[in-house]
Symmetry: C2
Amino acid sequence: MKRQIILKSRPVGLTVPENFEIREITLPELSNGQVRLTPHTFSVDPYLRGRMNDGPSYIAPFQVGEPIVGGGIARVTESLAEGFKVGEYVSGYMPWQEEIILDSAGLNIVNESIAPLSYYLGVLGMPGLTAYFSLLGIGNLKKGETIVISGAAGAVGIVAGQLAKIAGCRVVGITGGDDKVNYLLNEINLDVAINYKTCRDLSTAVEAACPSGVDVYFDNVGGEISDVVINKINKFARIIICGQISLYNVTSPPAGPRIQGLLLKRSALMQGFLINNYTSKFTEGVQALSLLVKNGELKYTNTTYFGFEKLPEAFLALFEGKNLGKLIVEL
Amino acid sequence: MKRQIILKSRPVGLTVPENFEIREITLPELSNGQVRLTPHTFSVDPYLRGRMNDGPSYIAPFQVGEPIVGGGIARVTESLAEGFKVGEYVSGYMPWQEEIILDSAGLNIVNESIAPLSYYLGVLGMPGLTAYFSLLGIGNLKKGETIVISGAAGAVGIVAGQLAKIAGCRVVGITGGDDKVNYLLNEINLDVAINYKTCRDLSTAVEAACPSGVDVYFDNVGGEISDVVINKINKFARIIICGQISLYNVTSPPAGPRIQGLLLKRSALMQGFLINNYTSKFTEGVQALSLLVKNGELKYTNTTYFGFEKLPEAFLALFEGKNLGKLIVEL
């Protein structure tokens, strides 16, 4: 018997294990155009938290009683879809199930000879493409500029950091653990890495790390960390709002310093970035990133949980900052 | 004996008449390259408040004991500068004095045959150019979009509103008086004008005025009015931060709702605009605006105080919203 994980109840504030439930399922025969899949790896991502709330957002909310749907890599075990052969691996959005039937339309065949399968959920997937297109479009990096990245050791952050180094920038990463600081400095060679949990005063640390101020702020976390960084932006700074993980679990709209006055004084730009607006350019982005990965110019790492039933636990771990790089669940 | 108005003390919070002092002056002989001027009209603008504070900003603070300097129109009464003839009128930054000596470098000769002299402080000056270049660059207006303008009956707002109408937008103005609402609706033909002081609930009023949401928000005021409008932005909205007059007199950084999450969800852009970054394009902007003024497509109005000694009073009136259009002081 195969299983699925459904949203049992909507979280209020932080998600708890009781918001999920594992159920048994039996799947029907395939229809034309469909494939049957055995999932290999699921991606757990902060944005899923938003879909657990009711109400309008940029994607429809999950329905209570229905399975969670997220990014995944799966093997084709049966196919009534042209161009999809049994034994091939595909990536796409898929329900948290041990067996899946999907229309082939939203699936892409992935190539294990270019990179490990899991990379198609990370550096060659949504997080990598997010870093790539947001830096290209909003970041507009110039050689010698200083960029600060929050959530620097996360799935998006480690790609953003390396792309900024390739662009010739001074790169400062903010993160929440000594292992992560070590990774940022010694594995992907950022110029400075700050552990916001242990540095005495974040403002002083950012100031010391950015003697020429902050030209670009790549924000994955929001909240008080961002307040500190935004205070140090230079004239014509660009602030990429890519994630706000520190605020995804709040139940009422949080207050903070009004930043409009500072954006005005510094002629600065702040823009929200959603990768869903760039689907038409994915092929171009994956090609560019694949090349860097193959050349060894772009490293990547995962934090892996093993076993289907670990999906909820892995998701909760995201909000405790337990992951270095992409958090995935391998079956 | 001629007079000048100096900054006697830095305001704390709201500016008060005691922050200014009138002094007598005697000016020397001209040096080469200089002109002697008799001012005709002074411009009073909200940004002057920022210069009365100490500390770094985008322009240097005024010094205590030194005259206030602002935009003005003056007649040349003596000239040792090539290209400047006695009797011509010039515009530029000038000290609040009844007689002025300046290098000719920062001055532009203005042409009374195109528009009334005072227009060179408004629609053909900094406020008009601010509306023009910020809408062109950040606003990126498309026909049929909805734009909301706060401070809509101010010096910048009335130009922005008319330019947005010319671009084919639905234009909603927010202002603070019935005379202003009347002007916006009947003189410059905005689609909706809201008096935020008398409407029962601003959120309901903005919602009713913008049935398709807000594509562009042109913000001159900041604070709670902006909170309401920003909540209603559409996907890919642009927010032009042009002024924050409601916050210029605060003594500590104000708190407000954190807006980054909303910018993220809506893939929206927010950018600060300072006209000082566009000096190289002024000629182009003045030409475009002059044409519209001459054709009668762009109307303009002033609120005029008379007499040199009225300058401080006129400046204070800005923050009480007493002006319709550009606030000027004629000598």
